[in-house]
């Protein structure tokens, strides 16, 4: 345990297409607003990993760099396994999530054969091609509240049924008729909700923060500033929900 909470974002030069890596900043800011001191460390190579880690964010990247990103993640396989079971929350978004699975199947171009990329295998399931890319709003009913965000992915996610993040209210999510979105295993959270999902959905952010603080022997209470910022997030979520014909909350 150390005085300062350390949130790492893994390989952001490969994994930050949609601003997903910025969720690390959201965690750090909310930790500060709760009275703790916090920092974000961008890790581009395993050698840069800080001695102590309190939370991990893995963003989404481009398909051309899937293997490069997977190889980088493999260098931290032991750490990721350990973190995910001992109270260090890991948020993985889009392809960052897919790479933690057993594997990714890529649709062959021009009707060519399907190509598979092995994942690092710390989450159940695998990513399989969709008929077409989905780029739209995604609303999910979860135990951390109704989550609202944006999805942009070319693949479905199979075999997350045992422990999804939530049930799809609007959008595609994991697809294949599952009606589900995301996966949660221990302290690992995988989701298609890209971009600043934690800023827009502070209920989920505070779940991760509570786990971080608990492990550090601290008590997490949402800060005053967070409460007022969360009102802005609520308005942003409601604007999308109402447009989709869902109720305001």
């Amino acid at each position: 345990m150390s005085d300062e909470l350390t949130i790492v974002t893994l390989f952001p030069s490969l994994l930050n297409s949609n601003g997903d890596a910025e969720n690390a900043r959201v965690l750090a800011r909310r930790a500060e607003w709760a009275g703790a001191s916090a920092r974000v460390v961008a890790v581009e190579d395993a050698s840069e990993l800080p001695a102590h880690v309190d939370a991990v964010v893995i963003g989404s990247g481009s398909d051309n760099e899937l293997e490069a990103a997977r190889d980088k993640l493999r260098t931290l396989l032991e750490e990721l396994r350990r973190w995910g079971t001992e109270g260090v929350p890991i948020l993985a978004v889009g392809t960052g999530w897919e790479l933690l699975s057993h594997g990714i199947e890529l649709a062959g171009s021009n009707g060519g054969p399907v190509r598979a990329i092995e994942g690092i295998g710390i989450l159940p399931g695998r990513a399989v091609p969709r008929e077409s890319r989905v780029t739209d709003d995604l609303v999910v009913k979860s135990k951390f509240g109704r989550l609202v965000g944006f999805e942009n992915h070319a693949r479905d996610y199979n075999h997350a049924e045992a422990s999804p993040l939530g049930r799809v209210l609007s959008g595609s999510g994991n697809g294949r008729g599952s009606g589900q979105e995301g996966v949660v295993m221990g302290d690992v959270f995988g989701t298609h909700l890209h971009g600043p999902v934690l800023a827009k959905n502070p209920g989920l952010a505070d779940e991760l923060l509570a786990r971080m603080f608990r492990r550090a022997g601290l008590d997490y209470q949402r800060g005053e500033r967070a409460a007022s910022v969360d009102e802005i997030a609520r308005a942003a979520r409601n604007q999308i929900a109402v447009r989709l014909g869902l109720e305001s909350e």
Binding site: S17, A21, E22, D63, N64, P196, A199, V229, I232, A236
Partner: protein, 424 residues
């Protein structure tokens, strides 16, 4: 091409008149839509028919300023130039713009056509075009709901570049564009433009490119931006004499646009290129509205700043006068999902008086996590603009409005600054 397209052109013109009667100043894309439907070859055949060829300006950003500069330089050399208004860079809009000028044989009086082309749209019609020169400005991370990633954008640009018959002008600082040059395998000339080490050092966050080349371009290799200061830049052509070029607004990206326009004008004109004419005409283009332009509005001075993508967002914030006391920031419906703006560090703003536009809440959220103080959120842009302009004069700096393209159009319409194009 004879009178083959005459019926389509006539029908297109009728539709245009009808569209204008229904909605004054509007309906610009509709006639093009009709003509493209009844005479699908009209657009590409007309574009290929200019005696001194077609020039295409494409890339992630800087297209519209660079196109204006290039057109000014070519006109300065006595060329009659057809160009598209920047709002009409979709197929229908372009066809509509051509209809304005085409004779019934489908020909347009003019020596040369310079077209600003959206990379996605350009790639779609590239197979049918025979441009003499293609200018590739850069590859930046564009709106993700349209283009998935930089590789895809680069692929679209390559498709357009492969159609060039004489030259492909490229940004030497852009690693994706240099890869395209390699794949052209010397089939056409590839003149370069780029910035010096000093200019890069003065922009600690970089130039906003998706991938940069490891080394700066040597001065003898093309048009080099040596330094940028306020609204002017010093450039050299092939390592020759240092020349000062006036810019339409502050910022390194405008200096790069000017270098791109110089390199392209030279590629088009060959030995008829006169650097003195090019520099003076490029320097004479009017300030670009909403990109650092300062205007008198309702008796007060207002600076307008446009953010179109993460790169221009970051550069514009970094170039704001740090003393700026009053800021209105509006993002509208043109930004479908603002996630891709989040890597931009907005903390330098310090405070924003009014956050507005249909994406006001999303923007306010990002600003809040950068600890930017927000006066208030007013989703109604017209009301926000009125109240912002009515605030007491700032004691330091000028009132500054930062907006996305959609909010810019709405602000311009609200203030009656000029006629507004119909939405596409």
């Amino acid at each position: 091409m004879g009178l083959r397209y005459a019926p389509a052109i006539l029908i297109g013109r009728c539709v245009r008149v009808l569209a204008r009667l229904r909605k004054p100043g509007g309906g610009s894309a509709v006639p093009g839509l009709v003509v493209n439907k009844i005479a699908p070859g009209f657009l590409t055949e007309t574009l290929n028919s200019f005696p001194e060829g077609l020039v295409i300006v494409t890339g992630s950003s800087g297209k519209s300023t660079t196109t204006k500069m290039l057109v000014a330089a070519l006109r300065g050399h006595g060329k009659k130039v057809f160009t598209n208004p920047s709002t009409a860079n979709i197929s229908q809009g372009l066809t509509s713009a051509l209809l304005e000028e085409a004779s019934l044989t489908g020909r347009i009086a003019g020596d040369i056509a310079v077209l600003e082309m959206d990379e996605g749209h350009g790639a779609l019609i590239a197979d049918a075009l025979k441009p003499k020169v293609v200018l590739l400005t850069n590859v930046m991370v564009d709106q993700i709901d349209r283009f998935h990633d930089s590789e895809m954008v680069a692929g679209m640009l390559e498709k357009i570049a492969l159609r060039a018959t004489q030259a492909v002008v490229v940004n030497a600082d852009d690693a994706f564009l240099e890869q395209i040059v390699t794949r052209l395998r010397g089939t056409v000339d590839t003149p370069r433009f780029g910035v010096s080490v000093d200019v890069l050092d003065a922009n600690p966050r970089g130039l906003g490119l998706a991938a940069m080349t490891p080394r700066r371009m040597p001065s003898e290799a093309g048009v080099l931006v040596r330094s940028v200061s306020g609204r002017s830049t010093e450039v050299t052509i092939d390592g020759g004499a240092v020349t000062t070029v006036r810019l339409p607004a502050r910022g390194t990206h405008y200096a790069v646009d000017a270098a791109a326009a110089l390199a392209t004008a030279r590629a088009v004109l060959g030995n008829r290129f006169d650097p003195a004419i090019a520099v003076s005409t490029i320097g004479s283009i009017p300030p670009v509205f909403g990109r650092g332009e300062t205007l008198q509005v309702r008796g007060t001075t207002v600076e307008f700043v446009l953010v179109q993508n993460p790169a221009s967002f970051q550069l514009n914030i970094d170039h704001l006068d740090p003393d700026t006391e009053q800021i209105l920031f509006a993002v509208g419906s043109d930004v479908r999902d603002p996630s891709y703006f989040w890597p931009v560090d907005t903390s330098g703003l310090g405070h924003v008086d009014i956050v507005s536009g249909s994406k006001a809440d999303e923007l306010a959220l990002q600003l809040s996590y950068d600890n930017v103080q927000i006066g208030r959120i007013e989703r109604d842009l017209g009301k926000a603009v009125d109240e912002f302009l009515a605030m007491p004069e700032p004691s330091r700096g000028v009132k500054t409005v930062i907006f996305s393209a959609d909010s810019m159009r709405r602000t311009r319409a609200h203030l009656g600054l000029s006629a507004v194009e119909a939405p596409e």
